[in-house]
């Protein structure tokens, strides 16, 4: 609970404080919208609508432009994401070594499509154009772990490790 006695959870208060610190550190710096969005997403895990509106108020940038930038870049997410992010590489090297088959199998295993999240928020599935470790292709990344030299059959044993 919040110290002031209201019913707001302490966690939310903490996040709001972090957001204020973020605004302070970028105040007056030109071209700061993208770093602010990146910082806000690091705090909340995604960019809730209210936070985007708050960014617009704090920076004086029209909400339309804030939403415009947030939806333009692939890095920004406007809805909550899973605890584990599965990124399937569909780069050229992975493509010629069977990346598409890996992607198909991951979709079957998780029962979700690209850019979707499982209902229990356990996994979010994404594709990337290249992870830059073509020597290990085909490759997937789960959170920060890279799994290379894959075959469709290996996927089940990998995914089971991520709760």
């Amino acid at each position: 609970m919040c110290e002031c006695g209201c019913t707001q959870p302490a966690e939310d208060v903490q996040k709001e404080r972090e957001l204020e610190t973020l605004f302070e550190s970028w105040r007056g710096v030109k071209g700061s919208l993208i770093p602010i969005l990146q910082g806000a997403q690091a705090i909340y895990g995604y960019l809730p609508r209210e936070v985007l509106l708050q960014i617009a108020r704090e920076t004086g940038i029209p909400p339309s432009r804030v939403f415009g930038v947030a939806t333009f870049y692939a890095q920004f997410h406007l809805s909550p994401r899973g605890r584990n992010i599965v990124r399937v590489c569909l780069g050229t090297a992975c493509h010629v070594r069977g990346g598409a088959r890996i992607f198909e199998r991951v979709q079957q295993e998780l029962e979700i499509g690209n850019n979707e999240t499982t209902p229990d928020l356990r996994f979010t599935l994404e594709t990337v154009a290249c992870l830059g470790c073509c020597g290990l292709s085909p490759v997937i990344m789960v959170n920060d772990d890279t799994h290379g030299r894959l075959a469709p059959d290996k996927l089940k044993d990998i995914l089971v490790n991520y709760q």
Partner: protein
Amino acid sequence: MQLVRAHVLVCGGTSCTSSGSKQVQEVFQKELEKHKLEQEVKIVETGCHGFCEMGPLVIIYPEGTFYVRVTPEDVPELVEEHLLKGRIVNRLLYKAPVTEEQIPTYKEIAFYRKQLRVALRNCGSINPENIQEYIARGGYEGLEKVLFEMSPEDVIAEVKRSGLRGRGGGGFPTGLKWEFCRRSPGDLKYLICNADEGDPGAFMDRSVLEGDPHSVIEGMTIAAYGIGCREGYIYVRAEYPLAIKRLKIAIAQAEELGLLGENILGSGFSFDLHIKEGAGAFVCGEETALMASIEGRRGMPRVRPPFPAQRGLWDKPSNINNVETYANVSVIILRGADWFAGMGTEKSKGTKVFALTGKINNTGLVEVPMGITLREIIFEIGGGIVGDKQFKGVQIGGPSGGCIPVELIDTPIDYESLIAAGAMMGSGGLVVMDETTCMVDLARFFLNFTQSESCGKCTPCREGTKRMLEILTRICEGKGVPEDIDTLERLGRVIKGTALCGLGNTAPNPVLSTLRYFRHEYEAHIMDKRCPAHACSALLVFTIDEEKCIGCGRCLKACPVGAISGAKKEPHKIDPEKCIKCGTCFEKCRQNAILRL
């Protein structure tokens, strides 16, 4: 400085890290402590050595012994045998693919022998997080020379004379670009490094930033002095966290030693460098889009002219070059334009880094003199094609480039020859393809990429790439019609000529070049409803060779839709009505009894 008798270089590049080099390094540390060797032997975490296929890589100096695919379990043996007893651990040496001969030092390995490392000169040899190691290899001497012995005009003249051209793909003469920006009126000018390496299959900029960040910082500072910039930005892809981390460390170290920031080395020249993290948009590799992104806007390109040299970042004259271009600058200053111009061909000087991937034995990063032939890169450095498959072609320059067929394998690699062949240098991705790669599917793959990365500002790119992708998808699914080829060519030409920026202008290249060299594959898909490479699943028919099938039941159990039937130890059958052509049976069969037609 503490002297040690041996150095253990553990590769800390992205590929080796993902195959476990961190654990290898930790076990080394423990083993050295166990044997009380920590005062005698020093572990150095280096940047990428380029030979990613064989990672994690460990090199032990002074001998220069090159160990490949080292696992944490191998380390105790390496410490005991190599470092204590002085005996080479043969089983961990690199084996030449054909002769099976074990090669102890890396200079003798074919993969390295033909290379000429200029931009990658320090990658894999130094600890990128320690500025002293860069300085010990002649680092920042070029900057010192420039600041105290050369005028800004001299710097530009020297770079012009070296013949250095932009390594990001366009190939514009670097010195000339600097001169344009220098001559633009205005006191405030910006210097930008494009490290938004987005081409799938290219990772040279990442390796330079991770393995030798100071070479880029020094090159940028020299450029800033030549052009007259006080402030600079490095725009790095957010997908490259390690590169960003190492750049931050490098900038802080350079500032601390007075090699960056206010009054550099007491010369009166000042230069501030900032890092800007991208947010995931391929089009931001285009210079005007990149600048829009730094300004905090949607990364959309704009019409040129005015060129960035006239009006760039925040409407001020700006110079923008790629990572690899800047990495060449300090060596050019230090060793002279003549030395640099002595490498390469008449119009393309120096060296180029290529990311060698696909169906090739030695995947990795290679730097070669311009003018070398594709054959030398693929068969000598790259060790040829995986397995006993037939070489079919090579895709150069990622989604902007084109396919070069086996007939043109003796094409020398330089900017002009590649354009004449319908490809382009691009960022330097080289994806090797064998007979099992379908060229229509490959063209579709690239177009799918450019189409989804199109920013949507101009109509030819937004609508045109979408229509081309629809046609290609249709062809791959066996629903193509004869007019499709003409339509693709017409659309391709129009998009090439009318799109606003480089992304759109080059997006049709993979389609046009495969149509030029592999038209028969398109025709086979459209007329005969057949994929010659057996890659397009919609056009495949799976059957079982009754002679070879032993009725083991592996395919029957694996089939996700129950399309396979048959009694144990009797030849099985596939029901074509039920088959979804997933290929699982083909993977499972140990008798090669599954036929793809």
